[in-house]
C-alpha cells in the first residue's frame, strides 16, 4: 500500500486570480517578501498496488484521466510513501 501526494497547479501562463488575491492579502498582513502565490490542489491518495512502478503508472493515469484538467492545469507527483 502506498500513500501518494499529487499536486495540481494552474499551468504556467494561466492566470490564477485566487493566488493573486491571496498574495494581496499576505502583503496587507505585512509579509512583504512575497513575490508570487499560486493556488492549486493537493490530492492525497491511499492506493493498493503491487509495486512502485505500478503506482507510477496508475497515478499518472488518474491525473490525466480525472484529477487534472490538462487545458489549464499541470500535475506533479510530490511524494510517495509506502504504508503497511
Amino acid at each position: 500500500m502506498y500513500r501518494v501526494k499529487v499536486q495540481i497547479l494552474p499551468k504556467d501562463g494561466v492566470f490564477d486570480p485566487q493566488g493573486h488575491t491571496v498574495k494581496g492579502a499576505l502583503e496587507k498582513l505585512g509579509f512583504n517578501g512575497v513575490k508570487e502565490v499560486r493556488l492549486g490542489k493537493l490530492i492525497e491518495i491511499l492506493i493498493d498496488v503491487e509495486d512502485e512502478s505500478q503506482l507510477m503508472v496508475q497515478t499518472k493515469a488518474m491525473c490525466e484521466k480525472l484529477l487534472a484538467n490538462p487545458i489549464i492545469e499541470s500535475y506533479q507527483l510530490l511524494d510517495v510513501e509506502e504504508v503497511p
Binding site: P17, Q18, T21, V22, A25, K28, L29, L39
Partner: protein
C-alpha cells in the same frame, strides 16, 4: 436603532440588507466600507451581509476577517452591540472567531439556492424573542459553503439558535441542505449579541416577494432593543 451594513469588496447582499433595514423597517441605516473604522457605540446593530467577500478565494471569509472594519466590529461586539452575520457575514464571523466553528463546502459540492425550513431552538436571544421555541420559518438559502462544523464540546447547546428542519419542524437528514452538523443553520455567541446564520432573512421581508418570515428576526431584535432602551431610560 441605528444600523450599519458593512461593505466588503465582493459583498453582494449589502444593498439588500440596507433596503430592508431602511425601507421596510424605517431604521436609520448606514453603509460602512471595509477600510473604515467606527466608534464602538456608534451603531446599535451591525450587519455583515452576504456575498463573496474577496471572491471567497482561499476560504469564505478568510481574507475579509482582516479588514480594518473588523477591529471596530469586534470592539462593538465586546461592548454588547448587536452583530448579525448573514451567509458570507456568518462565514466572516467564524473566521474572526467572533463565533465558534467553521463553515465548509456543502456536502453536495454544489451551490444551493432555494427556500428551506428552519426551526427556532432558542428563543431566549434578542434575535428570536418574538418567536416560539419550535416555531418553523421558511427562509431562502443561497450558498456553496454552508456546512457548519464544530469540534465536540466547543458549543453550548443554547448557542444553537436555528436548525434546518422539514416543514413540520422535524430535524431530519433530508432537510439538511448542506451537511451541517446537528443541522445547525445559525449560532449565537456566549454573550448573546452576535448571531450568524446561513439563511437570508433579508430576502423574505416583503409581501411582494411572497414570504415575510424573515421579518420576525428583525422585529424580535427591534422589540428587544426598544424594551432594553426603555428599561435603561427608566
Amino acid at each position: 436603532m441605528k444600523c450599519a451594513v458593512v461593505v466588503f469588496p465582493g459583498s453582494n447582499c449589502d444593498r439588500d440588507a440596507f433596503h430592508v433595514l431602511k425601507n421596510v423597517f424605517g431604521l436609520d441605516c448606514h453603509y460602512i466600507f471595509h477600510e473604515d473604522r467606527f466608534p464602538p457605540d456608534e451603531f446599535d446593530l451591525i450587519v455583515l451581509p452576504g456575498g463573496f467577500s474577496f471572491g471567497d478565494y482561499l476560504r469564505a471569509g478568510a481574507i475579509a476577517r482582516f479588514s480594518p472594519v473588523m477591529e471596530s466590529v469586534r470592539e462593538a461586539a465586546s461592548r454588547g452591540r448587536f452583530v448579525l452575520g448573514i451567509c458570507n457575514g456568518f462565514q466572516i464571523l467564524t473566521e474572526s472567531r467572533l463565533l465558534p466553528g467553521a463553515l465548509l463546502r456543502n456536502d453536495g459540492l454544489k451551490f444551493v439556492c432555494r427556500d428551506v425550513h428552519i426551526k427556532v431552538v432558542n428563543n431566549r436571544t434578542p434575535f428570536t424573542c418574538l418567536l416560539e421555541d419550535g416555531q418553523v420559518l421558511r427562509i431562502p438559502i443561497a450558498h456553496g459553503e454552508g456546512r457548519y462544523f464544530i469540534p465536540d464540546d466547543q458549543l453550548r447547546e443554547d448557542q444553537i439558535v436555528f436548525q434546518y428542519c422539514d416543514e413540520h419542524g422535524n430535524v431530519t437528514e433530508d432537510s439538511n441542505p448542506n451537511g451541517s452538523c446537528f443541522n445547525i443553520a445559525g449560532v449565537i455567541n456566549e454573550k448573546g449579541n452576535v448571531l450568524g446564520l446561513m439563511p437570508h432573512p433579508e430576502r423574505c421581508c416583503e409581501e411582494i416577494l411572497g414570504n415575510t418570515d424573515g421579518r420576525k428576526i428583525f422585529e424580535s431584535l427591534l422589540s428587544y432593543f426598544t424594551r432594553r432602551h426603555d428599561h435603561e431610560a427608566n
